[in-house]
Symmetry: D3
Subunit: 245 residues, 6 copies
Amino acid sequence: MSDTKTALVISAHSADFVWRAGGAIALHQAKGYEVTVVCLSYGERGESAKLWKQDGMTLDKVKVARREEAENAAAALGVNDIRFFDVGDYPLDLGRETQDRMVDVIREVQPSFMMSHSKWDPYNTDHMNTTQFALECRMIAQAWGHNPGQKVLGAPQLYLFEPHQTEQMEWKPSVFLDITDVWDKKWAAIQCMQGQEHLWNFYKNVAENRANHFRRNSGGQAGGRAAQYAEGFQTIFPTTVDELT
Amino acid sequence: MSDTKTALVISAHSADFVWRAGGAIALHQAKGYEVTVVCLSYGERGESAKLWKQDGMTLDKVKVARREEAENAAAALGVNDIRFFDVGDYPLDLGRETQDRMVDVIREVQPSFMMSHSKWDPYNTDHMNTTQFALECRMIAQAWGHNPGQKVLGAPQLYLFEPHQTEQMEWKPSVFLDITDVWDKKWAAIQCMQGQEHLWNFYKNVAENRANHFRRNSGGQAGGRAAQYAEGFQTIFPTTVDELT
Amino acid sequence: MSDTKTALVISAHSADFVWRAGGAIALHQAKGYEVTVVCLSYGERGESAKLWKQDGMTLDKVKVARREEAENAAAALGVNDIRFFDVGDYPLDLGRETQDRMVDVIREVQPSFMMSHSKWDPYNTDHMNTTQFALECRMIAQAWGHNPGQKVLGAPQLYLFEPHQTEQMEWKPSVFLDITDVWDKKWAAIQCMQGQEHLWNFYKNVAENRANHFRRNSGGQAGGRAAQYAEGFQTIFPTTVDELT
Amino acid sequence: MSDTKTALVISAHSADFVWRAGGAIALHQAKGYEVTVVCLSYGERGESAKLWKQDGMTLDKVKVARREEAENAAAALGVNDIRFFDVGDYPLDLGRETQDRMVDVIREVQPSFMMSHSKWDPYNTDHMNTTQFALECRMIAQAWGHNPGQKVLGAPQLYLFEPHQTEQMEWKPSVFLDITDVWDKKWAAIQCMQGQEHLWNFYKNVAENRANHFRRNSGGQAGGRAAQYAEGFQTIFPTTVDELT
Amino acid sequence: MSDTKTALVISAHSADFVWRAGGAIALHQAKGYEVTVVCLSYGERGESAKLWKQDGMTLDKVKVARREEAENAAAALGVNDIRFFDVGDYPLDLGRETQDRMVDVIREVQPSFMMSHSKWDPYNTDHMNTTQFALECRMIAQAWGHNPGQKVLGAPQLYLFEPHQTEQMEWKPSVFLDITDVWDKKWAAIQCMQGQEHLWNFYKNVAENRANHFRRNSGGQAGGRAAQYAEGFQTIFPTTVDELT
Amino acid sequence: MSDTKTALVISAHSADFVWRAGGAIALHQAKGYEVTVVCLSYGERGESAKLWKQDGMTLDKVKVARREEAENAAAALGVNDIRFFDVGDYPLDLGRETQDRMVDVIREVQPSFMMSHSKWDPYNTDHMNTTQFALECRMIAQAWGHNPGQKVLGAPQLYLFEPHQTEQMEWKPSVFLDITDVWDKKWAAIQCMQGQEHLWNFYKNVAENRANHFRRNSGGQAGGRAAQYAEGFQTIFPTTVDELT
């Protein structure tokens, strides 16, 4: 095992990681992390309305188009390792087989931290089911008796993505990350999402406003970091520290 | 203003800072912080049962005894600056005058972080009223128009102490601090609390068990820091970071 | 009493009503409502940092400047009735006298609905104290024995403003209002806030993104109203209806 | 597709729609809606105690009796379209096949609004599983890639029924509906439930007391609608409006 | 001090104890308890609409009428000790003086258990302020240094009354009390409330439906106590027991 | 059916019942109850790290060792009836077959009360899935139509175990049980858990500190039971009583 730090992002559909964690991904890649992105599905049925409105569209064509968008976005973010589980969407098939595949990836990557969706999402049950699934797989990867001999997982944090309507999803950010330095990469990745152009400006607004929250929480009117773009995440587990700040 | 980092602990009664934050205080003093402790009261009426059972006890005698205990405990923790507001207890007088005094201290100290009690405490309304008061004073200290010309406060975190019955107080820790290196100091400070010997072992148990939580959250069965004593705190405000961990 | 519908907005500081309810105010004025805005304070101490950084600034000068801004903003929104209670800020004086004044206004206005701040705000206790105060005054205005002979208040809804960091304030919107038709007025009112230019873009972003939520909740990808700007509010009381929608 | 408005009620067991939404159903039928009721099961195992106490009872006999009661109740409410999925109860089989059937119904009906159970029910997991199932099916019905060519679903509200012990189910009503005009129909439907006569009076009391809440929230002592019977519902999604009320 | 068990009910207005705890009071009186009822106010301004609609009504006349009703109701329930603090209503004056009076009563009564209102009530802030006040006074009564020499209070449970709209008040019952044997007394007490006849049936319905909950939670369809009338309460503090049941 | 009282403990892994309910089990056995313990799994994969670190370890060897520990612990607690479902762990197989087995046990035992895990556990999804499963099986066991002719279940309380990190699991105790008299048995049972010696002291601390909570809630500084060891549980269902205490 090398000394490279790693992270793992579990995305229900192939575009989620871009809107919700593109900045965090690009930033950590820039810092020398290897970030692995797993897309459980392409969002081929539920998040490709624009494609389906075209004549002669088929499920396979949608998947190909969505995969290409996701690969381009990943490249824009500097990601070297993106994997597509292709388990279907609306709903996802998160049965025992998918679970085993996911645990294998977690064991292989040995992430310093993990990312996934919010705990509750009445608009999109794929999202909340993915979070439950991520917790389940994290637990299995920690088990000494699961594939004995493999290196077991430690206790990585699980960061929850900012969902589309935060308050409805009972999501509350506990950390803001300054992504100003990599905003150009996130913006480029966002623009790879040709099928969802109606969301580009939405997530630009989110990034600008989260930067306002970053400034306010890092000093407020008395100073603080002049972040221009930020992302927010909710942590599931408490942190362990040597010094308070 | 010097480069010394500072912190401010607001304690409803004179012993609270020992049980609930003694480790954090000693640790940060050892790291070069100047930690200021404000005891709003001596807990002279409500938390001095053992003294009141003695013959000829008076309110003043209780205050003197409690103050001495608190000063000894502060010394054991390495604290150089402990202040007693003496606003009465059960209930505290948290009116405009006390508020002004507190804001002055906050402005003077310019803490990197603040500490106080839990948001809710049906057993002890002094505790939850102190937290509300701390938030109110923090807000005033941030106001440019409050005593213009003084240095305004930035946006320090408010860490909430672990209360006596956490679940009843709706308190949930978001950070565990390893206090192993200063445990001897906290234990010495605890032993200064002659009037509450029945609580010594209780808070030793808490520190041991929070260390277990520290270990579990820093790596679990796969490793993690071998902390022997820890304290937990709940944060009110989100953090602002450059890198996730 | 005329047939004109009325509404009452209770704003802790003189700018709050603009950012948080400017669209609702302009829209209802345009629909023929008379909206009364009460500013409990000018935000003279806590929300006028830019003014205080000027040489020779005094409390009175700040108040005059802030009042002028608020009056201009109100005019831009079409408001005919804005009142300044001038009870100080950071903290507000919400004692019995202020309460009596507020109840008189509620009785006079007889609002169809009321608006105020979120229930919880650890950054700004003025905000949450104002909400508690609004509920208290609403209750008194309903009392047949309070100034007998006056017309008592019915049961108007209390809409809670969108706060600056919604998730930290435990605020969850239950209604989105399409303010596209009056956005120009809200934008003009926002621009009256010369002292807080750093927030202009923030609240434009909010309005755009809430419009996205409006669209999603009014039909989603299958249709829905093409709102361009919207505001969100949380209701305190359940509604009473003749038909579900 | 006609201009008739439609609604869809998803009932875990065959009697639930009567107690919990009978008034809403009758009222909307009277207003010209076509309300479709889907009973996932007959409640044959778990909610037919009285029948099972009879000699010679079998599962099929229970189903027949329960179906007849439900059909009679539906007729009393003016319902023209009631469907029985017969997927078993205690527990319900809510697997992929049931899901597909439900999505087909949703697509066919294209409801203006949907109704189902509370989010949490420790007494009856069939109820809360049905709600999760309803959200999942609603999401699939919105997917452009699910059975492409069919008309996709918009964004109908999901109203949650009043459960038997509201506070234990973490249910909070956000809307009260005046059902006075159709109370005779609901009462007739309730009386079709021969096997659960012990609940008749219970739900009559509920309707009377919810009417009290209707009156209080529509004006209180200062006026308000003189509703005699009402039903309460909790909404999952925020509303989108043109005017506040 | 005698061996008689005691209880203390703190009622914001003079009728609250009847609707919300009349059964518990009568039942415990019948079991040999001495129950003390403190009415902080007569509800003279806020809960006497019917009286205020009469010609020539004055505050004093309302108080006299309300006091008589409350005394009659208390007598019907078998109460020997009802006290009127007369601190005004809408809002209550719960300042230091009222606090001292209340603590004196608590110390005198030494209740086995206490009762008061719900923690939250947006319709009626007097109610929730009373609960906060009750917790504060309970804490002071426990302080050895408050009036040293008096017998200090133990740790009595605080039971929260069922409020008028439970779900809006965030109230959840943790205990149901069978009041069938004393229902005739509660009904008689209710009928003493001549000014609020519109609520008689409402609280009869509540008592019947809570009895249904009593039956369900004591055995359900498999048996259980055949209670006909019950009251529900929420406990604030955990219980300490020798055996689970 | 005899007159012996019974209880049923559902433990996800074979050691859970010892740490979390060992005192309650020993105490009720001592009081004449027959307590049945069902271990769904041996915790063979996820909770046997120490064993897996030994050379030549296999899944079967782990199961044998864990079973022996659990049987010894059960014997130390006086339990006569412990059953191992052996459905695998990390994750548990809680499908229809396991459900049927569990319902059979519930019907056979007819417990006065049941025990299981907390409602939420992000560290260990086996735990929270077990609780959901316990509620589901309890419901089925209450159904008259499930295996007609068998005695149906009444409405036993479900007590939730204290989890490892209470606050993270959203667990709040509503009852403390004095286990001083059987502490020696619990301690002996704990010492049977050779593979988890690192937790012995942790749960001793928990028992000591919960005894402090027992004392405080049973009288506080004014008296109270001098419990030395206690366990805490959260109840799911409200209680039904004849007298408040």
